[in-house]
């Protein structure tokens, strides 16, 4: 029986029994894609929230396997290939089936550091000592001194 694969993607850490590794490929059943990565397969492409990435025709055969057409039960996505296309990097522990994806490097797209005008601080959502979640956007309308520290 194939070993389960563990994905570390964004804030998500997911063990997928149905995922399979084949050399540098990471095949994820489309039914598991959203809960493991936040991406879903739609007619317009692969989508995360309001963002959709069209699947280039030349890549479709390489990214997907399994039955095509309506439903497509059993269809899988090579998420490693898709993530690389988005600009992510990947660190992998092959022996233990763990895949960790680094933040996407936007190639050619406008980013906060290549555009003009004020630089927006990225929003975040983190817990305090009591587990209550705080977002930077909660403090809109106030000046914020963000002070990063650690016990080490």
């Amino acid at each position: 029986m194939a070993m389960a694969q563990t994905l570390l993607y964004g804030a998500l850490e997911t063990e997928l029994v149905g995922a399979a590794a084949d050399r540098d490929q990471l095949w994820i059943p489309l039914d598991d894609l959203e809960r493991a990565t936040g991406w879903t397969a739609k007619p317009e492409g692969l989508c995360q929230g309001e963002r959709c990435v069209p699947v280039p025709a030349a890549r479709k055969a390489g990214w997907f396997d399994g039955p095509d057409g309506p439903g497509g039960e059993g269809r899988r996505l090579d998420f490693a290939a898709f993530a690389t296309y988005l600009g992510h990097t990947v660190a992998r522990d092959e022996e233990r089936g763990v895949w960790a994806f680094g933040p996407a490097v936007d190639r050619g797209a406008s980013t906060a550091l290549t555009a003009s005008g004020p630089v927006a601080a990225p929003d975040f959502r983190l817990p305090d000592l009591d587990g209550k979640l705080h977002s930077l956007s909660d403090y809109r309308g106030k000046k914020v001194l963000l002070y990063c520290w650690s016990s080490w």
């Binding site: 660190a91 763990v98 994806f101 933040p103 983190l126 705080h134 930077l136 520290w149 080490w152």
Partner: protein, 238 residues
Amino acid sequence: MIAVAFDTGGPAAVRDFIRPAQLLPPMFQFMGWSQSLAEKAAVPAYPCLIDERHSLGEALGIVNVPTAVWIDEDGMIARPPEVPGATDAFRSMNLQTREVSKERAADGRVRRQVYVDALRDWIERGPASEHVLAPDEVRRRMRGLDPNASLAAAHFRLGVWLSQHGERDAGQRALETAVRLEPEAWRFRRQKIVLSDPSLTGQLAATPEFWQAVQALGDRYYYPPTEMAGMPAPLPPR
């Protein structure tokens, strides 16, 4: 103010630091605090958040702590990540007594005061403050994300996960890769040291490995001097 702790150990690692039981007397000299100020400063009145994945480090290009960012009322960066007046004085610290030279302790207090005064100026004057940086300058000072940094972050993420799931040696190997890819990302190295030994959770990574890495800097700064109007010229790093 929002404090964010980069700590894979979560609340257990940082709780005592946010509500400290006792401060070492040399810290009073180092920080320039009176007993009454230390007692007042001991209990924060602002949110203290935990970032176990160092996600803000990734998002903002933060490589070490302490680091501070100024964000205005519209969520725009007024001053990008920078060292808030800290210095390399610790490199001359007597490891037995935890004391630094009077000259360096005084220099540190002056620099921290300049930073706090600038912060107050911004609070009072907003965009009219000379300490608010133009967007182009904010961009110039920020660390952009390149494939090498992304790969280092991936190995760090992998290393932390492995360490937290009982795979200490494999975790250390992945973390070592992260350190090798981005040697200036001290938060990788320091967190790696703590993860190498569970007894170090919540403890300063002041191990021989850490001091050797610091010594290897030679005449390079561990904490880049803060570029701020009114900040005195920095002392040499050691």
